[in-house]
Amino acid sequence: MPKDALGVLSEIKKSFITKQIKEGRRGDGRKPDEYRELRIQTNYVPRANGSALVELGKTKILVGVKIDAGEPFPDTPNLGVFTTNVELLPMAFPTFESGPPNEMSIEVARVVDRGIRESKMVDFEKLVIEPGKKVWVVFVDINVLDYDGNLFDACSYGAVAALKTAVVPGSKYGGKDTQLPINNTPVSVTIVKLDDVMVCDPDLEEEQMSTTRVTITTTEDGHIRAMQKGDLGYFELDEIRKAIKMSSDTGSIIREKYLK
């Protein structure tokens, strides 16, 4: 994760956050399993086939979904195509630069993609126009506008919300516009370890001082659909168990409240 504008998180700030967390409180007063204020505004860009503006605390991202007819992959001739891309716009953070995707944006995009793909949220079997020749291609493009930690979840919520409102533009090809077929609602929850305390939805400061991170995507049935451990530290197996519980509990609240 990039460092803050000054290059480092001050030692004083670090020890303050560590002291607070040992008393069960986080730098901004949240409880360990509490996420920041979440606001999702769908259909923000009517020109897109589906879109959502997400504010997770001070992190702000915009997701646009475009759906167009195209060729299927040779190994999946009877499935629609799905791609996810994340742009870390230079406006979002002092050290973000324009240019080809870097490690960070690729990892975020692939983790978001995996959560949606593996949960089978979108019914790709229904996105075939002509088997083996023509299918609907769903492009999810995520623009990070303002970065204050936890891109994984902000981007994932935005992608899920945008896909839920997305319309397949059948009329462009002489058919009817239809709603994108959706099966379920995957919710990703990212948890980091501050010292030995696990907290969800880290803000930038917490992200910078955390030793390790895990993102877990679950569906309504409580099943795990995707996981990604990241950063330099380690997890004990018990900590992973705790993270899975935290993710599915917090995840179901977020699903009910924001992604219905």
Binding site: I106, R117, E118, G222, I224, Q228, K229, G233, F235, I240
Partner: protein
Amino acid sequence: MGTASDIKLIDENNIRLDGRGPDELRPIKIETNVLNRADGSSFIEWGGNKIMVAVYGPREAYPKHNQDINKAIVKARYNMAAFSVDERKRPGPDRRSVEISKVVSEALEAAIMVELFPRAQIDVFIEVLQADAGTRIAGLTAASVAVAAAGIPMRDMVVGCTAGKVGNKIVLDLSKEEDNFGQADLPMGILPKSDRVVLMQMDGDLSVEEFEQATSMIMKATKRIAQIQREALTKKYEIQQKEQGE
């Protein structure tokens, strides 16, 4: 995970397509110091996987703005040869290999005593010559041996292992067919002395109970793989002793 398929990956007697039981590993063979120029190297054959790893460093990190004044940075580069898979792979990094390189670097850094080498960089080149499912964990297992063979101080080895779900059953070390047509895949990197998890990715569909089953299978297997790693490393010194004796 993969698409629906008519292939039966595991039968009523819990025998898998390649004849293995649910908690059986494919054959693993590791050799060290297979390359002359590198500071440390290893070659692993894990099932049909053939992966070569070279380690250079610790050496001055370059470009200089990448240097960390407190520790060495670990840069693993996972790369697949164009001919390593059925359909020719376009050479060079793709999004998948960038992601794997990142998580493998992080897993290795958790084991290496990076604080001993400020401003330095440790390069780990993982070249997949032939791929047969589980390349990232086989590469990680071999990389850990190559780092040790380069004489770089480590807290522990890193062992990679995969479990997954095929035909609604949890199995160890997915084969290519099981990887393509299975229901879940859980690659993990473990420090075998402490059972700490330094790499974990998962895709597919696992209930919490299935996850428990999969991880306990992995934890058991890591002990066996760690033994193979250790033998590969001690063997290197046996040979050297013999040469000196003659």
